[in-house]
Amino acid sequence: MTDQAYNFAYLDEQTKRMIRRAILKGLAIPGYQVPFASREMPMPYGWGTGGVQVSAAVLTPDDRFKVIDQGADDTTNAVSIRSFFERTAGVATTTVTADASIIQTRHRIPEEPLTEGQVLVYQVPIPEPLRFLEPRESETRKMHALEEYGLMHVKLYEDIARHGHIATSYAYPVKVEGRYVMDPSPIPKFDNPKMGDMAAIQLFGAGREQRIYALPPYTQVISLDFEDHPFEASKANHACGLCGSEDSYLDEVIIDDAGGRMFVCSDTDYCEARQAAGHKGQDAA
């Protein structure tokens, strides 16, 4: 039941309109960081307050909502955000990717390709991809405005100089429609290719940093690289121990006190659906 002490989805209508305006602007200028007046939410920063505000602004009573944290629906963070919207918006929830109309995520893109009509909302800790080398915001804003992105390659250069290859494996920078360089949030670079040409709408919310950015459906998203060190969407070179998938992003988990390990899909819904369909990995019971 909706708790009547709250407006639908917690935020008041005026705030939601303000956030929607920022989202629309973001969709109109793919990859551009739109400032917005982030509100206090009844959860600490770092718990996805940016994503929560974006979700609150786009949710309707007819939506079916899914929340994942590193691919899983059942972590504390995912459970608490899901129950927050059950309580404040009374919306239906699901763990099934294909059944969800809005998916809020931290650190992953679901394995199952998203479709038209779905919205993927990312929680973003640091929206500015240039911050690593240029802490002055006045300067990074100018760099975006003037398309001065050489610094982004300096970061990748440093990576190769230090590690022999591009070691950045999360929050790997991308260029959107040949224009804005964007931080995809700390998803594994394995997920980067899924962002490009995606049928669903992708919205990014950074609460503490007060920024929203967006990718409309079917947007070109290219991961930065060097000619002689091309981008690779790498993952652990294993199959899922439970469902046998060779194409999904894997987490390494410890399974017993003796330090036994196994690789399993980080996308729990994907893995469970495969197991239910009869796929078996070598560690499956």
């Binding site: 080398l133 001065e148 050489g150 610094l151 300096v154 100089a161 230090r162 002689d228």
Partner: protein
């Protein structure tokens, strides 16, 4: 011949206070202009107006661009000016840390301008960085070290390499040897003189140090209270100063 840089009536005030006033001169390709004067005479203000770091209150700075010939850089758009800053222009700061990225390796520092103009081949960038480190007498083995581990003289040479790697046509230098030990200064000056000659660079060098201009500058401007009080060939000005202030300066009374 068309001047590479043609400066007309540049003035810059800080509130009611004069930074520099009515400065005009032409710089021809391959020429090195020295600017000397006591502390507070407006040298840095002028240099920053010329390099696009400060917006002058009045005047024009016409640069002979590769693409479109002479253009006033004061009134051109900021993106165009910033593009010049990382291609045809270079700026060497007195304090290396103002001109280097201290958190980035020496190779990354040299490579930045290359990447800024579109180089996307790691191996090529690294080769060019190695070449430039060698040219400024930094051991190529230090390519992956951060400038924080370099001596002051090495940092300054790294700053020069980072600036010259894209083959600029005009180099602005503000006290490039300031703050360095005398022996380190001498080595840096030798290096600069070699580079200026080999690359046929045009440069504008601001300094307190008459030895620097004697060695590097073809022509000299003497500034006092924001104005140019005397200008001419370096040897003429130094050996036969006409203005009373230049005479004081040369007689070393004002040398700091």
């Amino acid at each position: 011949m068309i001047p590479l840089l043609s400066v007309s009536d540049i003035s810059k005030h800080y509130g009611a206070h004069i930074g520099c006033s009515d400065v005009s001169f032409d710089l021809y390709p391959g020429e090195v202009m020295g600017i000397v004067g006591e502390s507070g005479s407006g040298k840095s203000t002028l240099l920053n107006c010329l390099a696009g770091h400060l917006v002058p209150d009045a005047g024009t700075v016409v640069f002979d661009t590769r693409a479109d010939g002479p253009r006033d850089t004061v009134s051109m758009s900021e993106p165009e000016r910033r593009m010049l800053s990382r291609t045809d222009w270079a700026f060497v700061h007195q304090h290396a840390r103002d001109g280097l990225r201290m958190g980035v390796s020496a190779g990354g520092n040299v490579g930045e301008r290359l990447m800024a103009v579109g180089d996307r081949h790691y191996g090529d960038i690294r080769d060019k960085a190695t070449d430039w480190l060698t040219r400024v007498e930094i051991d190529a083995a230090r390519i992956d070290d951060r400038p924080t581990t370099f001596s002051g003289g090495m940092q300054q040479r790294l700053q020069i390499a980072r600036n010259l790697v894209t083959g600029p046509r005009l180099v602005f230098m503000d006290e490039p040897t300031g703050g360095l030990d005398v022996s380190v200064q001498a080595r840096l000056l030798d290096l600069l003189r070699g580079l200026v000659r080999d690359m046929g660079l045009s440069a504008i060098i601001v300094t307190h140090d008459l030895a620097v201009v004697r060695l590097l500058a073809d022509r000299l401007m003497v500034m006092k209270s924001g104005r140019v009080v005397e200008a001419g060939l370096t040897d003429q000005v130094l050996d036969d100063p006409q203005h009373a202030y230049s005479q004081l300066l040369v007689s070393s009374v004002l040398q700091v």
